[in-house]
Amino acid sequence: MLGKHIQLMLVLTILCGLWMLGTRNTSADLVAERKIASNLFSVTTLSFINVNSANMSQLIQFFNTLGIVPGGFDARTVRIEKQGEMNVQYSLSAQKKSGDDAFCNALDLKIARRDLSTIYEGKLFNLSIQDSLQDGEREEWIILVEFDHGEESMKNKSCEFDLYMRTYRNSPSEAFRGLHATRTLTNIVTSGTW
């Protein structure tokens, strides 16, 4: 026969056991730590170049057209190559730096590939191109600036503008962030007399 104390201990053991069966686990995160090992972070480039299609020299000054008259045009060629490791998304736009507003707005721009397929045709300052360059790919462009207006007020005017090209990883409409590169081709076009 069991003594009273032993009976009491057995009852307490059973009660404790039943209580413990009713407990559930919780993650021991009061003093937990996460370690994520073997991380790899690499940085590459989005660099690219604008080069003279004749001699591969670096292009900075592009159009330097003096004395353009109504019906006149000037042409330049440019080769765009990807130099970095990542494929390049790029945007191209024209930005006025100085000059006569009416004359600048009267200038037209046409961009065609070497096979003469048209990339852009329209007003100079409406230029907005977004495209991408893949590995081993290069763009060879013929760019024409045209002037078709014959107003007296446009004689002896000048227009200085940049062809502004940038690569990006985020959307081109967003502010710069992350890796990017920019290249600027400076241009000046002056009108003559007629």
Partner: protein, 116 residues
């Protein structure tokens, strides 16, 4: 710590720095500290963090996720609890004591019958 047990109690309201136990996802139960309480469209969004974690938990919780607030911690008893959840633990903590008590009652009953 691993092996500790915590006793929790539901509260009508939870405050900053309370250590709470909450449901994360379908079946995971986590005990973390309240780091921030932000009102979003009238519902408090609660940010939590483990004391030893360097970063906040990814997902914010609401009051409906909370099981209760930690009242106190009993160190090391969790190992006994884990043992109780095993078959040998069930035998040691429940079955053997029950058998002993039942047998004892039978012995007492038969002794009473013999006396009468």
């Amino acid at each position: 710590m691993t092996g500790d047990i915590i006793v929790i109690k539901p509260q009508p309201q939870y405050n900053l720095n309370d250590v709470i136990t909450f449901k994360e996802g379908a079946d995971r139960i986590v005990t973390h500290r309240i780091i921030d309480i932000a009102q979003k469209s009238g519902t408090p969004e609660i940010a939590t963090k483990g004391d030893a974690n360097r970063s906040l938990d990814n997902d914010k919780i609401t009051q409906s996720n909370i099981v209760g607030k930690v009242q106190f911690v009993v160190p090391k008893i969790g190992f006994l609890v884990a043992f109780t959840h095993t078959t040998p633990g069930l035998v040691v903590m429940i079955i053997i004591p029950v058998i002993l008590l039942v047998m004892d009652q039978f012995v007492q009953m038969s002794m009473r019958q013999n006396r009468t």
